[in-house]
């Protein structure tokens, strides 16, 4: 209950002391002889972003990368994307036979594979549904753009991100195949 005005002072002072203590711990986190050198960037709980990079977890859904050779343009990802932000075009072409003397194989070649990151909601459905291990999450996050239209990234950019895919942690039963298939 609200006490008499005289009793307000100790409570207020205690609160102020706590705030002051926390502020001091942030400003002067160093011990020993350096006690009085202010180092807020060490004491702060925040990551001093442009100077030091935040380390996302390996599972972080930062951006989707594409392993172009694995994609068969089956369109499953584009169909299942809840907001239809994957654009795929492809054509059939002949590839050299697997074994010498065999017939040339008919394969699907990707002409276009764009993901519109201004629409993407990072749900991960496309990565989960891709049956041919062509899509991977990577924790990369530095791809902001000045114009929203520039967030449409094509297959070469998605392919560059593929270099940053972390080794998968065991993910689901039978995931070993997926681990092997981060081809590096």
């Amino acid at each position: 209950m609200a006490g008499k005005s005289g009793s307000r002072v100790p409570g207020t002072l205690k609160g102020l002391a706590l705030t002051f203590k926390t502020a001091m711990q942030t400003m002067f986190p160093k011990r020993g002889i350096k006690t009085l050198i202010p180092a807020p960037s060490i004491g702060a709980m925040t990551v001093q972003y442009p100077h030091e990079a935040d380390l996302p977890t390996p599972r972080a859904r930062g951006v989707i990368s594409l392993k172009e050779d694995n994609c068969t343009s089956c369109m499953l990802c584009a169909r299942e994307c809840p907001d239809w932000c994957i654009y795929i075009e492809g054509h059939k072409t002949l590839a050299p036979p697997r074994r010498a003397g065999g017939k040339p194989r008919s394969v699907n070649k990707l002409d276009r594979f764009d993901i519109d990151y201004s629409l993407c909601m990072y749900c991960g459905i496309c990565v989960e549904v891709c049956p041919f291990e062509a899509l991977f999450w990577t924790p990369e996050y530095e791809y902001s753009e000045a114009r929203i239209a520039d967030l449409l990234h094509d297959k070469s950019r998605l392919g560059e991100w593929f270099q940053t895919v972390p080794d998968f942690q065991p993910y689901e039963s039978g995931s070993e195949a997926k681990v092997e298939k981060v081809p590096r």
């Binding site: 209950m1 609200a2 006490g3 009793s7 307000r8 409570g11 207020t12 205690k14 609160g15 706590l18 705030t19 926390t22 709980m45 996302p56 977890t57 390996p58 599972r59 972080a60 859904r61 089956c74 499953l76 169909r79 299942e80 809840p82 909601m121 990072y122 749900c123 991960g124 459905i125 989960e128 549904v129 049956p131 999450w137 942690q169 065991p170 993910y171 689901e172 039963s173 039978g174 995931s175 070993e176 195949a177 997926k178």
Partner: protein, 438 residues
């Protein structure tokens, strides 16, 4: 703060009739169309029939304390609020309707965006409803993982409340501390789900991925400093005379009024009525956990604050129990109808590949029927009602959003309070506008 025992429960329905009559007589809701409001906006001189100086004032939709875009039209007499009306719809995105277009596999990513401060609870309610229709039982481990994640999410949501409540009332350092603690919990959620919010993690049939290596360590880093920090919150806020004077006796509501309005969660518990779905209608394995339902006794803003603060303590205790009891096993159901085949088998068998394509292009069919599943979210009873017509998409999906229903208690709490208390009251209702508008 008292616990469940020795609190009288309301069994007499007549008392609710009394509450309805009182609420109606109270006349605290401002019924005013947009054009009338414009006509009457600004200062109105006292009228002959005894009305004093009145003023219609808009608070929001961009007021910093309205947590998103809530607009409140206030009818003021001097500085006292006579009637008020919350105006919603600024965040309306038609998510319930969108849910009818998305398959049950895509559904969680849609519903998770409703209550963005506690997304896992909406996912859980959706998943429970779909599982009820399917008649499947998810594996033990999936259930415990769900409970673990939800309690962690409850902590982060209540921390958000601590931060914004402090900020709204002028305890600015509290805002920073609340966010600092929340960030640690979110880091754990990110480790497990991959995202800080809108996880799409709890799915019909289990969870999206197993707990990763090192989850215990990360969880401990997030949880272990909390009890000490909560004691700091007690110094900064609970024990503060200024804080108590701002909150005590402000925005009072009674249990009967709460029940007639359908208000649940910390607001209902602050009136002394111990109603918590985790205790009263246990889902998952909450009946096996040892925890207290916290109730207040005055139904004011301070009780609501204190309940949320202590619910964080309860959640920490629950998380410790869950970690100790986390069973092994599968994290999602292995049911051909619902689960796609394991990755490894896709390469080996054409059949598995066809199954994979089929389950994702068609989605899984859910038997016709209707069901309602409810969970206790940090804001109250969060329910998902699904009508299925036997196809792979819900015929109708409705979400009983606690924020939406709690919001209608606001005019009654604000009646005859000061304008400055509006901020305290809005903040103590803790509405998430994404969930209100859906």
């Amino acid at each position: 703060m008292t616990t469940t025992e020795d609190i009288p429960q309301i069994t007499d329905l007549d008392s609710l009739d009394g509450a309805i009559a009182r609420l109606v007589a109270d006349n605290s809701v401002l019924h005013l169309s947009q054009s009338e409001a414009e006509e009457r906006s600004g200062y109105q001189a006292p009228t002959a029939d005894g009305m004093g100086e009145r003023m219609i004032m808009n608070m929001g939709p961009q007021h910093p304390s309205t947590h998103g875009v809530l607009r409140i039209v206030l009818e003021l007499e001097g500085e006292v609020i006579i009637r008020s009306k919350p105006i919603i719809g600024y965040l309306h995105t038609g998510m319930e309707k969108t849910g009818e277009e998305l398959s049950y596999l895509q559904g969680p990513t849609n519903v998770t965006r409703m209550d963005y401060a506690s997304p896992l609870f909406t996912e859980l309610a959706f998943a429970l409803a779909v599982e009820q229709l399917l008649g499947i039982e998810v594996p033990e481990r999936a259930r415990w993982i769900r409970m673990l994640m939800c309690e962690a999410n409850r902590i982060s949501s209540h921390m958000l409340f601590m931060a914004t409540n402090g900020m709204d009332l002028g305890a600015v350092s509290m805002m920073l501390y609340g966010w600092r603690e929340r960030e640690e919990v979110l880091r754990f959620l990110e480790l497990v789900t991959g995202l800080r919010m809108n996880h799409n993690y709890i799915r019909p049939g289990g969870v999206a991925a197993d707990l990763p290596d090192g989850w215990k360590g990360s969880l401990q880093r997030a949880i272990d400093p909390l009890p000490e920090r909560l004691d700091e919150f007690d110094i900064l806020m609970t024990g503060q005379p200024i804080w108590r004077e701002r909150l005590q006796g402000v925005g009072v509501i009674t249990a009967e009024e709460c029940l007639t309005l359908g208000v649940t969660g910390p607001i209902l518990r602050s009136t002394g009525y111990a109603w918590d779905l985790r205790k009263d209608m246990p889902y998952l394995h909450y009946d096996e956990l040892d925890f207290d339902v916290l109730v207040g006794s005055y139904g004011d803003c301070f009780d609501r604050y204190a309940i949320r603060l202590n619910e964080i303590r309860e959640s920490i205790g629950m998380i410790r129990q869950i970690v100790d009891r986390m069973p092994g096993g599968d994290y999602k159901i292995q049911d051909k109808k619902v689960t796609p085949p394991p990755r490894a088998r896709i390469d080996e068998s054409m059949e598995a590949l066809i199954h994979h394509f089929k389950i994702f292009t068609e989605g899984f069919k859910v038997p016709a029927g209707e069901t309602y599943a409810a969970v206790e979210s940090p804001r109250g009873e969060l329910g998902v009602y699904i009508v299925s017509d036997g196809s792979a998409r819900p015929h109708r999906m409705h979400v009983r959003a606690p924020s939406f229903i709690n919001l209608q208690s606001m005019p009654h709490m604000m009646r005859n309070s000061l304008l400055a208390d509006t901020v305290a009251i809005v903040s103590s209702v803790d509405p998430i506008m994404g969930e209100v508008d859906r």
